[in-house]
């Protein structure tokens, strides 16, 4: 931690008990959003991506409706290329919480042999993530879908609304987004329209980890550093879980102490060299290291502004 810039700070214990820490303030705001959606939409669903943000979202949903159960199902878009540890964690968590879990895969695309090295990352994402998601939302007749996206993740997300309006084709038009003032969220929809809802809009990656630490929220063990067999390719560390990941001449897996900073499909999500094997060590590492988490996603390297393009097409 850096030292405070000013040193005239002498109000620790006498501070009034009626102020919230910033994590408590963020939590209160997120619960308000979750409850508002449950009250105003016919068929909400929570996108569950198994990552740290989803884990936080799930805990917030438990809190928002306590002592009742979470009043909507979870939806996982399974590309079939997710890390194996993620799937095991997903099934354990859903069972532990007693939530209804819907798993959807674009089976036709898988049968056609869709994978990133055959069709390219952009087309692979388009078929296995974007199309699969739009189909699943359509099949379920869902009018509101929660996601764990944060505005600090990527530049094009800084202007995302908490209620992000999508047209009948699930697409996003930056010019049609509605102003959001105070705590007032406009949930009115036209025929075929839906919203993506982002209760973690105002959280940063560091907030998410600090909350996981404070609340002792379980996360996928892939986030913690240990020795793993990876392919070292330039700055990328790729976990060779899928047989179709091609080895370049002379390449073979090496044991590297590393961890995942964000989770996705194993062929397209790089690991980082790290010794952080506990949540507090991850927080220390985040404060010291200054790389944005999305840099480690191979998929975002395609072109400048690629996230904005994916979003317009209906990607989360």
């Amino acid at each position: 931690m850096t030292m405070p810039l000013l040193t005239t700070f002498d109000e620790p214990s006498r501070a009034p008990s009626t102020t919230l820490s910033h994590l408590q303030a963020l939590e209160a705001e997120s619960l308000h959003i979750l409850r508002e959606v449950a009250a105003e939409f016919e068929r909400p669903v929570m996108l569950y991506s198994i990552g740290k943000d989803s884990s936080v979202l799930l805990r917030l949903a438990q809190k928002a409706f306590y002592p009742g159960p979470i009043p909507f199902p979870l939806l996982h878009i399974d590309t079939t290329y997710k890390f194996r540890e993620m799937i095991a964690f997903r099934d354990r968590q859903a069972a532990a919480i007693g939530a209804r879990l819907i798993v959807h895969t674009n089976q036709d695309a898988i049968a056609d042999g869709t994978q990133p090295f055959a069709v390219g990352t952009q087309r692979c994402c388009g078929l296995l993530k974007t199309k699969a998601l739009l189909d699943a939302l359509n099949d379920g007749g869902f009018d509101a879908a929660f996601g764990g996206a944060r505005r600090d993740e990527e530049r094009s997300r800084a202007k995302e609304r908490i209620f992000s309006l999508r047209d009948a084709n699930g697409q996003w038009d930056p010019k049609r987004q509605r102003p959001e003032l105070w705590r007032l969220l406009n949930s009115r929809l036209g025929p075929g329209e839906s919203v993506r809802v982002f209760p973690l809009s105002n959280w940063t990656e560091l907030d998410v980890w600090r909350y996981i630490d404070a609340e002792r929220i379980p996360v996928v063990p892939l986030y913690f550093a240990r020795e793993r067999d990876v392919i070292v390719r330039g700055n990328s560390l790729i976990v060779p879980e899928q047989p179709f990941v091609p080895l370049l001449p002379g390449e073979r897996p090496r044991r590297v102490r590393c961890r995942m900073r964000s989770l996705g499909c194993s062929p397209c999500t790089g690991a980082v060299r790290s010794d952080a094997d506990t949540v507090p060590k991850i927080i220390e590492e985040l404060i010291a290291v200054r790389h944005s988490e999305r840099q480690l996603r191979v998929i975002d390297h395609d072109q400048d502004g690629s996230m904005e393009i994916k979003k317009r097409e209906g990607y989360f």
Partner: protein, 443 residues
Amino acid sequence: MSGLLRLCTAGSVDDGKSTLIGRLLYESRGVYEDQVRSVEAASRNRGAGPIDFSLFTDGLKAEREQGITIDVAYRYFATARRKFILADTPGHEQYTRNMATGASTSDLAILLVDARHGIREQTRRHARIARLLGISSFVLAVNKMDLVGFDRDPFERMRGEFRALLEDLPPSGGRTAAMTLHAIPLSALHGDNVTTKSARTPWYDGPALLPYLETVEAGRALAVGAFRLPVQLVLRPDHRFRGYAGQIASGVIRAGDAVTIWPSGMRSRVTRIVTWDGDLETAFAPMSIALVLDHDVDISRGDFIATTPLHVGKRFSADVVWMDERPLDPERPYVLKHSARSVTAEIDGALALNQIGRVQVATARPLAFDPYAENRITGSFVLIDPATNFTAGAGMIADAVGDPRSAEVAAGVAARLARAARDAATDRAAVDAVRDLLEEILT
């Protein structure tokens, strides 16, 4: 001091706002090294020197190409002392709605001016919007001091002019409230007085911008003031539990406190304050909690649980910021959303996009509310165009129209009627009891 400060920024085109925010993010580690590299590469392409800080904040591809900022963008940064949520709003006059949006959730506003040009019409407009939206803490950031040779005179002149301007501005609802102004001479481009004090302004004895933001006490303390809980959801997981869930708008509540439900006026008592983390003895704004009351009362989403009376009525005056390209049409009904309740409303007034004005509102059903000057949550509403579903207007309630006592009388009547109906043994008897009571009241 709250661990979270929400603030907004505004300035005219070319006042260097994006550069200032980019530098704040950069210096407080709100941007990452790979973003720095990508911005360095882009800066080289545009020939804007080593690092063009403004590129950290220009988000959407469309606006990067046009070189302007066209929507509210939210930025996050933190120091060891505090976390900041910054609503970055563009300076163009046609985007007044964005300024209002950013200000609605902010406790402090930074208004940026160019040291060479001074206070301009745009600055006055931004100050007026910020004040109208209830902001009482202002920072005047006099930027580009390097271009006036770090001269004290223009800075002092602008500070005096801005103070006079603020003092002349009517706050929301025409009520006066304490206001603070802190003016800082800086150069966002060169980093003077942004995170550390500059040696080039020896005549300035205040803190640099970031240290000031770390310690400023801004915004009205939500927990001070009368308790109000807008009921968002009635939680009924089984027949034994009935909890009223919401985010506290203001004030403090303790288990055992007597409360009144608005707009019905029925009374009850808090028996439990329920959260996932366990029952609480005390809860305060802005916590999200659920209350259990000591007997079943008829409460639904949109009602308020409060310790002191709200205004109840169907008519009030309000200041409205118009945000839709279709002008306000007094002939058409709008959907008015106030806390967790939506009602049909007619609005008497004439406003076009980005205009602000006082209007008269008539709602189809009674609302319980406070003036905006007293409570930013229970005093605010949005107007939704039912044809397009666009959020067309943002309103701040100025005053109830009509006899102020009529609300409490009406609420009392409602409570008596409800009690008469509840105490009756059969539906038939309830109808009779309500009819008799109404006749008694009306004659």
